[in-house]
Amino acid sequence: MIWLNNAATSFPKPQAVRDCVNACIDHLPCSDGRSSLLARDALEDARCIAASFFGVRKAERIHFLSGATEAANLIISGLGIGKQAVLATSLEHNCILRPLFSRLERSQIGIVHPDESGRIPSSAIPSFAGAKFFFLNHSSNVTGAVQDAKGLFAEAHRLGMACILDFSQTAGTFPVDLDDIEADVAFCACHKGLLGVPGCAVMYLRDSSLVKPSFFGGTGEHGDVLDMRNSGVFEVGTMNQAAVSALSCGISFIQELGTEKVFGSVSSKVMHIKMELSCLSRIRLASPLEGPCTNAVSFVIDGISPSDAAFILRDSYQIIVRSGLMCAPLAMKDLGLVEGAVRVSPSYLTSDSEIQSFIDAMKDISRSISRSIE
C-alpha cells in the first residue's frame, strides 16, 4: 500500500522514531517523582527540543498533552470565554469548530472567510472588532494554504483579541516561530509533519495564566495540594512517554537533515503533484497553486464523487488518500464542495516512485471517465 494521507498522520516513521518508541517500552519506566529510579527526564528534554524547534525562548511555555483535540478542548474551556464574542476562520478543523459551537451560543461566534487564494485577508479582521478571541488555523487541512499568522495576529491584537493558533498542519512541514508570530496560545499534533506517534500534542502558552487547567490529577509533586485550579499545571497523570520521546526523535530527525531540505522536499513534491493534476481533464484543484502551502492537496473529479475516487485509488491502485469533508465542513462550504474532496498529502519520506504511481493512477482515472459507460 502507498500511504498518501500524511496530513492525517504520517507514515512511515523514521527508523529513529521507531527505535525510540521500542526503547521506551523495553527499558525500565522512569518519570520524575513517581519512582525511586532516577534518570534523565525525557519530558524536559523534549520540552527544550520542541521549544528550540518552534522559536520559543522560554521552554516552560511548552506543555505536552495527549492530543491536539484534547489541547483544543482544554484551551477553549480554559480561556474563560463566557458570553464574550469569538472569531474563527471558516478553515478551522472540527477540533476547534465543534468545541466552539458546542459550548457557545451561535451569536457569539464570528466566522471570517478566505479570499480566492485561500488566505484570510487581514483587512477582514476589523469587521469583527468586538471579538475577544481569534482562532486561526495556520494551514487548512483541506487546501494546504498557509496563513500570514504574524500579520493577522498583529491586526487582531490591535483590536484587543487574544490569538490562538492551530499549527497541526504546519508543524514539521513549514517554518513556525511561535514567539515571532506572537500567538498567545498555540497547539499542534505531533504525529503528522513532526513524524511522531499519536498520543502527544504540543501546547504553547505565552503566559500560563491565559488558560485555566480543566484536567486535574497526579503530578508527581506537592501531592498534599488538592485545589489545582490556578496551578498552571497541564501535564497530569502518567505522561505518554513513548509519544513524547517519539516527538523528540522526530524533531531531531528533521533538524539533522536540515529544515530547509525537509521543508523544501515536501514543497517540491506538493508542487509536482499540483502541476500534474492541473493538466488532467476533469480534475479540479481545490488547493492554490501559488503562495506558501503545506502538504495537503485537495481536488475533485468531474464525473465521480470523492469517496468513489478514494475507493478506486485504494482498490485498484493500493493508494491511500483521504476523501469526504475532512472534519472541515465550513472550508468545504466555502469551496462549494457538498460532497467534500479528495486529498493527497505526501511526507518527506514519500518516495518519488510513490508519487509517480499516484499521478499515473490519476491519469488512468481521468481517461477512464471520458470513456465511461453510463
Binding site: G303, I304, S305, P306, S307, D308, A310, F311, I312, D315, S316, Y317, S323, G324, L325, E339, G340, D364, I365, R367, S368, I369, R371, S372, I373, E374
Partner: protein, 100 residues
C-alpha cells in the same frame, strides 16, 4: 455468485451521509453482474481502469465496487442491515428474480 457476508463498513467518514455495508461474495464480481444493476438506478462503469470500477446510485441506494473483487460496498441513507442484505443478494445475482 452468493453473498457470503454483509457487515457495517468501517469507512465511515468517506461515505458521509450514508450507512455503508461491505459485502463479501463467493466469486469475483463480473462485468455482466455489474451491467445487470442498471435497472436499480444510474450506473457509472469505468471499464478501462486497471480494475474496472462501477457505482450504481439512486436516491436511496448506492452500490460500488470493482470487477474481479470478492467484495463490494452498499450504501443506504439509514442503518438497515436487512435491507442491505437484500440489495447485496440482488447485486450478486443471488435472487435475480427480484429484478424481473
Amino acid at each position: 455468485m452468493k453473498v457470503v457476508s454483509v457487515s457495517p463498513s468501517p469507512d465511515l467518514c468517506s461515505e458521509a451521509g450514508w450507512y455503508g455495508f461491505d459485502v463479501c461474495i463467493s466469486e469475483p464480481m463480473t462485468e455482466s453482474a455489474v451491467l445487470a444493476l442498471k435497472s436499480l438506478g444510474h450506473l457509472v462503469y469505468l471499464a478501462s481502469l486497471k480494475k474496472p470500477f462501477f457505482v450504481l446510485k439512486s436516491e436511496s441506494l448506492f452500490i460500488k465496487g470493482s470487477v474481479g473483487s470478492l467484495s463490494f460496498r452498499i450504501g443506504l441513507p439509514y442503518n438497515d442491515s436487512a435491507q442491505a442484505s437484500s440489495y447485496a443478494r440482488i447485486a450478486a445475482g443471488d435472487c435475480r428474480t427480484l429484478l424481473s
